[in-house]
C-alpha cells in the first residue's frame, strides 16, 4: 500500500492535491470568488476587458465615522457607448466590507441586495430609462463607526441588443478607504491549521523514529511490518508508550484550546473568538484535558510501571488492554468531529441537562456524547484489567501491604473509576438516546429532571478527580522516598489514607450541586463529608514532609517537581476548603476562583506529579537519562509561569469575574463591577500562559534529544528499591520471566502461604480449580 509513495511524482501529486484541498475553502472567501465574478453576486456577462474602465467617485480622503457619502459609479469604454437608443447600456455591482449602502431617496435605478451589496435595478429590454439603461449611478454609503472599508466594484458594458451575450464586456475595480484592519484569522482556522501541523509533525516523527531505529539498514519494506507491530501490540510497555503519545498529543491540543481562548480573554470586550466558538473551545478544552490527556497519561504510567513494580510479566488481559487504549483515539475521532464542522459540542465538560438535550445545543454534542461513551467503555475495560492484575499477579511474597505506594494509588484509583463510571455511561446513553431516537429522560416538558443528570454525572465526576490525582500521589510517594533515601514515612497510614479518600470520594459529590436546588439536608451532609476529605489528604501531605525530614534529600529534577507539587497541591487544597462551606460556595460559584482552585489541583497536582514521574521513570523506560539541565530549566520556567497563570485567577474570582463567559467588561456597574486592574491581570495571565506552554516544549525537546543522545541509564539510576529497578533499562519482554518471577524479600517476611481470613473466604467463594469439591 505504501509502495506507490516510492515514486517522487506520486508524492508530488498528493502534495498538490493536499494543498488544493487546504487552499480551496479560503479562496472562496474573497469577494471576487474563486471561479470568477459569478461567485461574488455579480451576474456579469461577456468577458473581462481592459477597455472598460470602472470609476468610483465620492470616496473621501479622510473618513469621518458614521458619516453618509454619496458615491458616483460610472464606467467608460466597452460596447455600450455607440448606440444611445440601445435597449440596455450597462450594469454594476458594488460590494463593501463595512458600513451600509442605500439608494438615494426617490432613485429607482439602484437596489440593495440581501447581502448588503448594491446593484442596478431592473432588466430593461424596452429602453424606458431604468437602471439597466445607464452608464452611471449614484448610491449612498454610511461609513462604519470605526475603521475603514474595502470596496469591490464590477461594471458591465452592454452592447444594447438586450441579450446577455459574449459581445458584452465587464471589469472590476478594488478600492479602500480609511484605516484598514489587520488581517485576522478566525480562531477555528488557527486551531484547524495547528492540528494539521501537529498531525504532519507527528507523521514525520513516526517515519523519523522508524528511520532512527536502524539507520544503517533503512528500507521502506520494513515500514509496514514495523507500523503494524505497533498497531497490533499487546505488550504492556508498548501500549503504555502509545498511551503516552496519545496523552501528549491531546495535552498539546487541549493546550492550544486554552491558549486560543486566553487570547480572547486577554483584553476586555475582545472578539477574537465568537461566542459560539468560545463555548465550543472551553468545552473541548475541559473534555480533552481530562479524558484525552490526563487519563491516558495516567493509564500510560499504570501500564508501564504496575506490572514491573508488582513483579508480573504483563497485565492480566493484554488484548483487553490494547482495546482499552485504541478506544481512546476512536473516541477522540467522534469527540472532535463536531469541532471541524463548526458545530462542536458547546455544553461544557459537564454537559448539563437540559441544555445538552435541547435543539439549541450544537449537533456536535451528539457525537461528543457518543465519543464519551467509548471512553467509558475504555475506562471500564482498563479497570477490569488492572483490578484483575492487582488481585492475581502480584509476585510471590508481595502481600497487599507490601505493594509499592504507586501501585496502591493505581489500585484505589482504578477501583473508584470503575465503580463510578457506569453511572456516567448510563447517563450518556440516556442523553444519546434523547438526542437521537427521542426518549425524554432529560426533557423537562415530559417530566425529565435535569438534577438526575447532575447526580449521575457528579457521582462519577467527583470520584474522577480523585482518579486522576491519586496516581500523582503515588508518584510523589515513590519519588520522595527514593530522593530522601529512606522508606516513605508511615506506609500503612499512606495506604489507609488512599483507601479513605477512595471511600470519601463517593459521598462528597453533592458539593458540585450546592446551587442546583438540591435538598438542603444533602447540602449539609456533603459539606461535612467534603471537609473530611482534608483529613486523609492532610495525612499524606504530612507523611511526605516527614519522609523528607527524616531523610537526606537529593535534588534531582523529579524531586524538584515533587516539591513543586507539594506547594501547589497544598495551595489548591486550601482554596478547595472554601467550597464545602455552602455560603462561601454560593458566593464563589461559577467564578474564576473555581477555575483557579481546580487548575491548582489538576495542573499543580496531577500534571506536576506526572512530570515528576516522567523524569523519574524515563531512564527505566528508554535506557537513557534525561538531560538534567533542560529538566531544571523546564521546572523553573514551568513552575513560575504556572503560578503566574493561575494565582491571579483567585483574585479575579473574588472580584467577580465569571467563568465560562465569552468576554468581560471593565465597568462601574453596581452589580457587574470588575475593576480596571482585572484587564491587566488577564493580560498577564495570557502572557504567562504562553510561557507555560513554551515550558512544555522544553520537556518534549528533552525527551526527544535524550532518547537519541542521552547518557546510557543504569538499571537503577536513583537507588529505588521497588521491583521495576530489578529489570534492565529498558525492560525486556516479557517484563519479568513468567517462569521465574521475582520474590519479594522483606524484613518482616510475609507468610504468603497463608492467605489470611479474607483470602480463605475468597477461596471458599471461588472454588479453586485444583482441589476443592471437584473430585
Amino acid at each position: 500500500m505504501f509502495s506507490t509513495l516510492k515514486k517522487p511524482q506520486n508524492i508530488g501529486i498528493i502534495a498538490i492535491l493536499l494543498l488544493a484541498v487546504v487552499m480551496a475553502p479560503s479562496v472562496t472567501s474573497y469577494p471576487h470568488g474563486a471561479s470568477g465574478v459569478q461567485d461574488s453576486g455579480c451576474a456579469c456577462h461577456g468577458s473581462q476587458a481592459d477597455g472598460v474602465t470602472p470609476v468610483l467617485d465620492g470616496l473621501p480622503n479622510e473618513l469621518t465615522p458614521s458619516m453618509t457619502y454619496t458615491l458616483n459609479i460610472s464606467f467608460t469604454g466597452g460596447p455600450s457607448g455607440e448606440d444611445p437608443n440601445a435597449a440596455a447600456l450597462g450594469g454594476f455591482h458594488l460590494w463593501v466590507s463595512e458600513g451600509s449602502l442605500s439608494p438615494i431617496d426617490g432613485d429607482d435605478k439602484v437596489k440593495i441586495n440581501p447581502d448588503g451589496s448594491a446593484t442596478h435595478n431592473g432588466i430593461d429590454g424596452e429602453d424606458v430609462g431604468t437602471g439597466n439603461d445607464q452608464t452611471s449611478w449614484q448610491v449612498e454609503w454610511t461609513a462604519p463607526a470605526e475603521g475603514g472599508a474595502k470596496f469591490t466594484l464590477h461594471v458591465n458594458s452592454v452592447n444594447g441588443d438586450g441579450i446577455a451575450s459574449d459581445l458584452d464586456d465587464w471589469n472590476r475595480l478594488n478600492a479602500e478607504v480609511g484605516p484598514q484592519p489587520v488581517e485576522q484569522a478566525s480562531g477555528l482556522t488557527v486551531f484547524a491549521s495547528s492540528i494539521l501541523l501537529m498531525i504532519t509533525i507527528v507523521g514525520g516523527c513516526v517515519v523519523w523514529v522508524f528511520y532512527r531505529e536502524n539507520p544503517d539498514s533503512f528500507s521502506w519494506d520494513y515500514f509496514v511490518p514495523w507500523l503494524s507491530d505497533w498497531l497490533t501490540t499487546t505488550d504492556h510497555k508498548k501500549v503504555g508508550t502509545l498511551y503516552f503519545l496519545s496523552g501528549f498529543f491531546f495535552l498539546g491540543v487541549g493546550g492550544l484550546f486554552a491558549l486560543i481562548f486566553r487570547i480572547q480573554l486577554a483584553t476586555p470586550g475582545n472578539d477574537f473568538l465568537t461566542q459560539d466558538e468560545y463555548n465550543q473551545f472551553f468545552t473541548m478544552h475541559g473534555t480533552t484535558m481530562i479524558f484525552l490527556a490526563a487519563m491516558p497519561m495516567i493509564a500510560g504510567f499504570a501500564n508501564w510501571i504496575v506490572p514491573l513494580q508488582i513483579g508480573a510479566h504483563d497485565l492480566a488481559l493484554p488484548r483487553m488492554n490494547a482495546l482499552a487504549f485504541w478506544l481512546n483515539p476512536a473516541a477522540a475521532l467522534l469527540i472532535f468531529t463536531g469541532i471541524f464542522s463548526g458545530q462542536g459540542a458547546d455544553v461544557g465538560w459537564t454537559g448539563y441537562a437540559p441544555y445538552i438535550v435541547s435543539h439549541t445545543a450544537h449537533s456536535g454534542a451528539t457525537l461528543w456524547v457518543a465519543g464519551q461513551i467509548l471512553l467509558v467503555a475504555s475506562s471500564t475495560i482498563a479497570g477490569i484489567n488492572f483490578m484483575t492484575t492487582f488481585c492475581t499477579m502480584r509476585a510471590p511474597g508481595m502481600g497487599w501491604m507490601q505493594m509499592p505506594l504507586f501501585s496502591w494509588s493505581i489500585l484505589v484509583a482504578t477501583l473508584m473509576l470503575f465503580i463510578s463510571i457506569p453511572a456516567f455511561g448510563i447517563g450518556l446513553i440516556q442523553v444519546l438516546l434523547d438526542r437521537t431516537i427521542g426518549t425524554v429522560f432529560y426533557e423537562v416538558a415530559a417530566g425529565g429532571d435535569p438534577l438526575l443528570w447532575s447526580h449521575l454525572f457528579w457521582y462519577f465526576g467527583h470520584p474522577e478527580v480523585y482518579v486522576v490525582v491519586l496516581p500523582a500521589f503515588g508518584v510523589i510517594s515513590e519519588v520522595l522516598s527514593t530522593s530522601a533515601r529512606r522508606t516513605v514515612f508511615g506506609y500503612k497510614s499512606m495506604v489507609f489514607a488512599l483507601a479513605g479518600i477512595g471511600v470519601l470520594g463517593f459521598i462528597v459529590y453533592g458539593h458540585h450541586m450546592f446551587t442546583s436546588g438540591m435538598s438542603p439536608v444533602l447540602r449539609f451532609v456533603t459539606m461535612l463529608t467534603t471537609m473530611l476529605v482534608a483529613v486523609p489528604t492532610g495525612i499524606k501531605i504530612f507523611n511526605w514532609l516527614q519522609t523528607m525530614h527524616g531523610g537526606s534529600l537529593v535534588y534531582r529534577t523529579h524531586t524538584l517537581w515533587a516539591l513543586g507539587f507539594l506547594v501547589t497541591f497544598t495551595l489548591g487544597g486550601i482554596s478547595g476548603m472554601y467550597f464545602p462551606a455552602v455560603a462561601m460556595d454560593l458566593h464563589l460559584h461559577e467564578t474564576y476562583f473555581v477555575v483557579a482552585h481546580f487548575h491548582y489541583v489538576f495542573v499543580g497536582g496531577i500534571i506536576f506529579g506526572l512530570y515528576s514521574g516522567i523524569y523519574y521513570w524515563y531512564p527505566k523506560a528508554t535506557g537513557r537519562m534525561l538531560n538534567e539541565k533542560l529538566g531544571v530549566m523546564h521546572f523553573m520556567v514551568g513552575f513560575i509561569s504556572y503560578n503566574l497563570v493561575f494565582w491571579p485567577m483567585h483574585r479575579l474570582g473574588i472580584q467577580g469575574m465569571p467563568r465560562r463567559q465569552h468576554t468581560y467588561f471593565i465597568t462601574t456597574d453596581q452589580y457587574f463591577a470588575l475593576p480596571a486592574e482585572a484587564a491587566d491581570w488577564n493580560m498577564m495571565i495570557t502572557i504567562a500562559a504562553f510561557f507555560f506552554a513554551a515550558s512544555n516544549l522544553i520537556l518534549v525537546y528533552n525527551i526527544v534529544v535524550s532518547a537519541l543522545r542521552g547518557q546510557k541509564a543504569p538499571n537503577d539510576p536513583w537507588g529505588g528499591w521497588s521491583m521495576e529497578w530489578l529489570t534492565t533499562s529498558p525492560p525486556p519482554t516479557p517484563s519479568h520471566d513468567p517462569h521465574n518471577l521475582p520474590v519479594l524479600q522483606f524484613e518482616e517476611e510475609h507468610d504468603d502461604g497463608d492467605p489470611g481470613l479474607f483470602g480463605r473466604w475468597i477461596q471458599w467463594m471461588m472454588i479453586a480449580e485444583d482441589g476443592g469439591e471437584e473430585e
Partner: protein, 374 residues
Amino acid sequence: MSYDSHHGDHHDHPSPFGPHDWSHGAPHNSWAPIMMAFGSSIFLLGFTKVFTQTWEGDAWSYAINSAQFGLLIAGLAIFTAGLYVFWRQDWSFDGIEFEPKSVGTPFRGIDIRKVAIWMFLMSEMMVFSSLFSTYLRYRTGIDNCEALHAAGTLTDGTVCWLPASYFIAEGGWHQETAHAALKFMPDTLIPGAINTFALIVSSYTIVLALKTAKDRSLSDSERNRKVGKYLLTTLLLATLFLIFKLVEWFVGFELGDHDHPLFYSPSLLADGFTIHASDYTYQVCNEWHDHHCAEGQLETYTIDIRMAASTFYVTTGTHGVHVFGGMVALVYMVIKAYRGGYTPDNAVSIEYFGLYWHFVDLVWVLVFPAFYLY
C-alpha cells in the same frame, strides 16, 4: 524471540489474525483491539445521524442518508470482524488451551479470567443500578395517571406515569374487552411470563453444559454432542426470549377468530405506549356493559406518558442487549463445543459465560417485577 527489532525475523511472529500458542506467556500481536475500537466508533458515527435525518428530498440527500446508514453497517461489520479475530486467536483448535493462574494472594491458584469476569460483573452491577436509580427517581417523582384519575385531578395534557404494567399486567384498555383464554390473568402478561421461565431454564441448561463438559465418564464424541446440545438449548431459549420481547413490543399475538380470539395480546406499539407518546389517549370506563362501555360512562384524556415509556424501553432494552451479547457468545461456544473445544480439563469458558448468564438472568428477575408487574 525478539519483539524489539523489526528487521529480520518479523516473518516469524505469530500472525496477528491467526490462532496462537499462548502457553509461553509472551505478548501476542492482535488486530482485534484496533478493529473493535474503530468499528464501534464508526458505528456510533452512523448511529447518531441515522435516527435524526429525514428521508425526504432529492437523490443527493438520499445518497447522504444512505451513506450514514452505511457507516452504521460498516462499523458493525468491522467490529464483528475484530471480534472474530479475537476469538480466532483464542481458540487453539487442539483442545489444549492456556489458562493463566493467579500467583498473588488471596486468589492464588484461581484462574485469572475468573477473577476478571467477577470484576466485569461488578461494573455491570453499577450499570443496572444506574438504570434503576433513573427508574426510581421518575417512578416516585412523577404522579401516577391512574392515581390522578382516582383523585379527580387528571386533565388533558398532564404529564403523568402510566406504567408498562398497566398495559402488560393489567391488560390496559383491553382488560375488560378481551376474551381472555386464561381467566385468571390477562393474555398480555403471557409473553413476559414465558420469557422469565425461558431465562431461568437457560441458566439451568448452561450449568448442565458445564457439568457435562466436566464429566470424564463420557466418551469424547458423546460429550461434544451433549455439551453442544445443552449450549444450543441455551442459545435457543435466549433467542426465544428476544423474539418474544420484540413481538411484545412491536408485533403482538393474536390466536383464533379476530372478534373472539382465543389468545389476544396486542403489542405495546399498537397500544400507543411509545417514547413519542406525548398525546396518548387514555380511556377510562366507569361502567361496563356486556364488553362495551355504557353510554356516557367513557372518559377520554390526552396525556403525556413519554417518561414511563422511555424508562421501560431503555431499561428492558439494555437488558435485551445483554441477552443479545450472550447469544453472540453462545453461537461461538456452540460451534466450539461441536468441534470438540470443551474437555473436562478445559471447560472453564462455559463456567465464565455461565457467571455472566446468571447475572443477566438475575437482572431480569429484578426488571420483571419492577416493569412488568408493578
